[in-house]
């Protein structure tokens, strides 16, 4: 994967990682409902569950060859809060590898 800038990576996160990988269309969501600030977990927004969180983490590792390591409360609660935070998290991981 070569998404190096924020807008293109955000597009991948919204469509490929969240919408398609989690098969959200099958449970009645449209891609338009996944905006950059949409809350993913908890009672608001998409209301994803912990297994969905693992699916997102594995999707990121597979797509970019990155290693997230332990899925800590910090990652699950803050980094995976919205498509925007996920995108910034992937960029952080990529930059860390590049450095």
């Amino acid at each position: 994967m070569t998404y190096t800038d924020y807008p293109s990576l955000l597009g991948w996160v919204r469509e490929e990682l969240i919408f398609k990988r989690l098969k959200l269309e099958a449970i009645g969501f449209s891609l338009d409902e996944i905006q950059q600030d949409t809350v993913l977990f908890g009672d608001a927004g998409l209301s994803l569950d912990s297994i969905d969180g693992l699916e997102l983490a594995v999707g990121i590792e597979q797509a970019f060859g990155l290693k997230i390591g332990k899925l800590t409360a910090d990652i699950a609660g803050e980094k995976f809060k919205s498509p925007e935070t996920i995108t910034r998290f992937i960029l952080e991981l990529k930059n860390a590898v590049a450095a």
Binding site: S50, I51, L54, E55, E61, I68, L71
Partner: protein, 347 residues
Amino acid sequence: MFLISTGSYLPGSSVSNEMLSDYFGNSVHLIADYFGIKSRHMAVDYKTGQDSGEYTSDFCTKAALDAVSKVPNFDLKDVDLVITSSSTPDYVLPSLSSLVQEKLGLPNAFPIDIRGGCSGSLQALLIAELFIKTGKAKNALVIGGECCSTIYYDFLFKQRKSYNAKDLINTLIFGDGASAFLVGGEQLSPDNFEIETTVSESVLPDQVPGFIFSYGGAKEKILGQDDISLSQIFRHYPKEIERNLPRVIRAMQENLRKTGYQRDDFKYIVGPQANKRLIDDMNLLLKEHKADYFYYGDVIGNIPGGALFLAFDRLVNTNQVSPGDRVLIMGMESPKWLYGYCVLKKG
């Protein structure tokens, strides 16, 4: 009723997360660490996905023979009841207990199947108790076992370049194996455990499942479907588990209180062997008791039908229980909301 002996069987060798990560990458560690599982036994060859030729009835038979072999001068023919608990029997029919009866060579024993999850072995024990106390049976083999890997691993192995997390989760958290309790109405040795209490209850029957395992069911047919995925067959609903499991634990606590056991009565609690995340939720119950929690699930994975007696067998074989000690074995399951427990006192 007395526990005359225990037995267990784990197929193949232990398959660690490191071994599986050679085929499924770093995500193995990410998922396995999340659930707190280090290794599991698998009947299939993890390097090729090929079956070993052994399935649940073979594991159950070997666990039963292990239990019987530990009792000097006990004649296997004196077993007149064989009860099995599994969610992964060899077939829908013939029944698992009938196959085990055949393999044990017990034509006159009465076979009964329990189709259950993590508390199924305790349901089976309760039925054995009813048969023995009413004189319908003299000795019973209560056996729980699972062969999960032959259902999913070959499928997963073939798509190892493009698996998803939901498929991989089941490989990592479930294991293969079996365990057996040989129980009877007579104490054959002074060191036999007395099974003082056995309870099994369904709570929250109106609540939706926390887990659906649809393989082999009549409602969701898989024959002829070429786009079936593992995540369709094994469906986890973590939010339901988070919402309902504490309620099941509280119902079990309430029942245990009514039986009159006190805070200091238990030396050990053998509880759910599912995964570390679930065990952490058990703190609610552990606070009520001083007992040590014996956990073996991080090494063998979750073997729903066999896990509780496997852990107890391990506890006993490592000489950690002394005469007079009481052990509480408790299980709960989330496909529907059940719990069971039994209290054993070592003679």
